[in-house]
C-alpha cells in the first residue's frame, strides 16, 4: 500500500504540464536518436546534459528517461524498414523484422514491436518500483566494504560482458580508474596528477570524457564510413494491424522478453544489447517453428524488442537504489543529478521522494506517449535516416562543443573533449570499448574512498572486509555467476567429442 501511495505522489509530480512536456520532448528526441545510426542514447544524453541545467532535477530525470526509452523504441523502426539498426540493441530485430517487411508485413512487425516495447516497459517499471525500494532498504545497512564490493564486482562483470577483447576491456577499465584518481585526494586534501592546472583539482569531468569517447569519436568514425542508406519499405496506416495469429504468437515472447530483459538489465554492461540476443535465442529454442527464424518469424521481433525495453527499467535499479551506475547511460544520469547537487544513493528514496517516484511515474507516462507517438509517425521517423552525413556530423560536433563548454564555461573541458574525442577514435577503431573507462571514471572515486575507509576501520586487515555477511554474499554470488558459465561450457565442450565418438 505504501508503494502505491508513493507512486500516486509520483504521478502528481510527473503529471505537471512542464514535466509532461519534457517527457514528450525526451520521448521524441529519443526516438530520433534511436532511428539515427551511430548516435546512441548515451551520446545524445551526454550532448543534451547542458539543456537540463535550468531544469528542476526531477524534470531533467524525466527528460532523460524519455530519451532512453525513446531510443529503444526508435531503433526498431529502421531495423524493420531499412535493415539498419538505429542502435546496437536493435541489431537482432533486423534479422526477422526486415524479412517480415520484405514479405509485406512491415506494419505488423512495427506494431508488435511498439506494443511489445510498451508492455515490457510497463512491466519493468513495476519491477523497478519494487526491486529498487527493497534494494534501497537493504543498502541502508551497507558500509564501506559493501560499497567497495558492489563497485568492484560491477566493474568485473562489465569487463566480462562488454564483448570484444577481454584484455582491452581490462586496460580500458584500469585507464578509467587511473583517470578517476586525478584531482584533490578526498581524505587528505592533497593534489594528485594535477600538474598545476587548477581546474584539474576537481578531477577530470565526466561529461567531456563521455562526450569525447562516445559523441566526437562516433562522428569521426562515421565520417570515414562509406555506404548510403538503401530504399525504405513504405507502410500504410491500414497495414499496421497484425493478424490474430500474429498477435497470438507474440504474447508469450513479449512476456518472456520482459522478464529476461528486466533481470539482464540489473547486470553491469550493455544489458539492452545482451538481452535482445538472449531473448532471440530463447524464442528460437522454445518455438514450434524454429525453421521460420531468420525468415520473418514474428517471435524474433516481439521477444527482443520487449527485452531491450525491459532492460532499461532494470538498469535504473542499481542507480536509484544504490547510487551506482552499471551502464554508461546511467553514468550520464548520475552526471545530471550531480549537476543539480543531488548524490544518488539509498537515501534518495527517503530524502528526495518526489524525485524518485516522479521519475518512476514519468516512465509510465513516457511509455504511453511513445506508443501514441511511434505508430502514426513511423514513416516520418524513418525518413530521418536520409539526413545527409555532411550536415549531421558538423551539427553533432557543434552540439558537443557548446554542450561541454556550457556546463562549466571551461576551456580545459574543451581540451579534454578534444583529447578524448581523438583518443576515442583511435581506440574504438582498434576495438577498445569506451564503456569500461567511462564507468570506472564515475565509480572510481566511490570505490577508492570505500576501500580506504574499509582498510582504516579494519586496521589494514583485508579478510574482515571480505568475510562480512553482506559483502561476503556479494563476492560469493559474483564468483558463482562468473565461474559457472565457463565451467558448464568446458563440460559441454568435453561431452560433445565423446558423444561424436560414441
Amino acid at each position: 500500500m505504501e508503494v502505491l501511495h508513493q507512486l500516486m505522489m509520483g504521478f502528481q509530480v510527473a503529471a505537471t504540464p512542464i514535466n509532461l512536456l519534457w517527457a514528450l520532448i525526451g520521448a521524441f528526441v529519443g526516438t530520433i536518436v534511436g532511428v539515427l545510426p551511430g548516435i546512441g542514447p548515451l551520446g545524445s544524453m551526454a550532448i543534451l546534459l547542458s539543456f537540463t541545467l535550468k531544469m528542476e532535477a526531477t524534470t531533467a530525470m524525466i527528460f532523460f528517461a524519455g530519451i532512453y526509452y525513446g531510443a529503444m523504441y526508435g531503433g526498431s523502426t529502421t531495423s524493420i524498414l531499412l535493415n539498419i539498426p538505429g542502435e546496437a540493441a536493435s541489431v537482432v530485430t533486423c534479422i526477422d523484422g526486415y524479412k517480415m517487411a520484405q514479405k509485406g508485413r512491415a506494419g505488423a512487425a512495427l506494431t508488435i514491436s511498439a506494443v511489445g516495447s510498451f508492455v515490457a516497459g510497463t512491466l519493468s517499471i513495476i519491477g523497478l518500483m519494487f526491486a529498487a525500494s527493497i534494494l534501497a532498504d537493504a543498502a541502508l545497512k551497507f558500509g564501506p566494504p559493501e560499497f567497495f564490493a558492489i563497485g568492484a564486482i560491477g566493474l568485473l562483470f562489465l569487463v566480462r560482458l562488454s564483448g570484444g577483447s577481454l584484455i582491452k576491456n581490462v586496460i580500458m577499465l584500469l585507464l578509467g580508474l587511473a583517470l578517476s584518481t586525478i584531482g584533490t585526494d578526498r581524505l587528505h586534501g592533497s593534489a594528485r596528477f594535477t600538474f598545476g592546472i587548477s581546474e584539474l583539482g576537481q578531477g577530470v569531468e565526466f561529461l567531456p570524457v563521455a562526450m569525447g569517447l562516445f559523441g566526437i569519436a562516433e562522428v569521426m568514425l562515421t565520417a570515414v564510413e562509406k555506404g548510403e542508406v538503401g530504399e525504405m519499405i513504405r507502410v500504410r496506416m491500414r497495414d499496421l494491424l497484425p493478424t490474430l495469429v500474429e498477435w497470438k504468437r507474440s504474447i508469450a515472447p513479449i512476456f518472456r522478453g520482459s522478464i529476461l530483459g528486466f533481470f539482464i538489465g540489473l547486470l553491469p554492461g550493455p544489458s539492452p544489447v545482451i538481452s535482445t540476443f538472449v531473448s532471440y535465442m530463447t524464442e528460437k529454442k522454445v518455438s514450434k517453428h524454429p525453421e521460420e527464424f531468420g525468415e520473418g518469424a514474428i517471435e524474433g521481433v516481439a521477444g527482443p524488442e520487449a527485452a531491450n525495453n525491459a532492460a532499461v527499467g532494470g538498469a535504473y535499479v542499481p542507480l536509484l537504489a544504490l547510487g551506482v551506475p552499471f551502464t554508461p547511460a546511467m553514468a550520464v544520469v548520475v552526471g545530471a543529478l550531480m549537476l543539480h547537487g543531488i548524490t544518488p544513493g539509498p537515501m534518495m528514496m527517503t530524502e528526495k521522494p518526489q524525485l524518485f517516484w516522479g521519475v518512476i511515474a514519468s516512465m509510465y507516462i513516457g511509455n504511453v506517449m511513445l506508443l501514441v507517438l511511434n505508430l502514426p509517425l513511423v514513416q516520418l521517423f524513418a525518413l530521418i535516416t536520409k539526413v545527409p552525413k555532411p550536415i549531421l556530423l558538423p551539427l553533432i560536433t557543434l552540439m558537443c562543443l557548446v554542450g561541454v563548454y556550457s556546463v562549466n564555461s571551461s576551456y580545459v573541458d574543451l581540451y579534454v573533449l578534444a583529447l578524448f574525442g581523438i583518443l576515442g577514435f583511435i581506440l574504438r577503431d582498434l576495438g577498445y570499448s569506451p564503456a569500461p573507462l567511462v564507468l570506472a571514471l564515475v565509480i572510481g572515486p566511490m570505490m577508492e574512498t570505500a576501500l580506504r575507509e574499509s582498510l582504516m576501520i579494519n586496521q589494514g586487515a583485508i579478510a574482515p572486509m571480505i568475510f562480512r555477511p553482506i559483502a561476503g554474499t556479494i563476492y560469493l554470488a559474483a564468483a558463482i555467476a562468473l565461474i559457472i558459465p565457463p565451467v558448464v561450457h568446458a563440460i559441454r565442450g568435453r561431452k560433445k567429442p565423446l558423444a561424436m565418438k560414441g
Binding site: 547542458s50 565520417a223 557543434l398 578534444a418 577503431d429 582504516m456
Partner: protein, 155 residues
C-alpha cells in the same frame, strides 16, 4: 602497426602513471595514503599493458585493421576540436563557431561553398540564440553577441 603503436602508448602511460603514483604518499594498509590506490592501479595497468604489448609484438604486423587515422575528414575534425578553444578565447562565440562549422561542412563536402557558408551562418546564430539567449549559458561575447542579446531582450 597501429595496434603496436597504441599498445606501446598505453605501456608508456602506465610507466609515467606508476612514477607519479609512487611519488605520492603510499602509506600503509592500516593508514592508506593518497598514493596507495593509484599505486595499486598503476601496478595492475603496468602488468596488463606490458603483457598486451608483448602479445601485440608477437603477432605479424601487416594486417592493419580499421580506418586510416590520416584520412582528411577525421584529421580535420580533430584539428577543429583542438583549435576551437583557442578561437573561442580570441574571437568570441559567433565568429569562432561559424569558422569551425564552415570548415567542417566544407571538409565533409556539403553541397556548394555558398550553401555551406549560409548553413554555418544560420546554425551559428541559432545555436547562440538557444544556448546563450534561452538557456542562459555564458559564452565569450563581443559586439555581435551583445547585439543579438539586445534584440532578444524583452522591452
Amino acid at each position: 602497426m597501429k595496434e603496436r603503436i597504441v599498445s606501446l602508448g598505453i605501456l608508456i602511460f602506465a610507466m609515467v602513471y606508476m612514477a607519479g603514483a609512487i611519488a605520492l604518499k603510499v602509506g600503509t594498509l592500516a593508514q592508506p595514503g593518497a598514493g596507495q590506490f593509484p599505486a595499486a592501479i598503476a601496478f595492475s595497468l603496468l602488468a596488463v599493458s606490458a603483457f598486451h604489448a608483448w602479445r601485440t609484438f608477437q603477432r605479424t604486423a601487416e594486417n592493419d585493421e580499421g580506418n586510416s587515422w590520416t584520412q582528411l575528414a577525421p584529421a580535420g575534425i580533430a584539428a577543429a576540436l583542438v583549435f576551437y578553444p583557442i578561437l573561442l578565447k580570441t574571437l568570441s562565440f559567433l565568429l569562432s563557431t561559424f569558422i569551425v562549422l564552415f570548415v567542417l561542412l566544407r571538409l565533409l563536402r556539403y553541397k556548394t561553398t555558398l550553401t555551406s557558408f549560409l548553413t554555418a551562418l544560420v546554425t551559428t546564430i541559432l545555436s547562440f540564440v538557444i544556448f546563450a539567449g534561452l538557456l542562459g549559458v555564458v559564452v565569450p561575447s563581443g559586439v555581435m553577441e551583445q547585439f543579438i542579446l539586445a534584440i532578444m531582450e524583452p522591452r
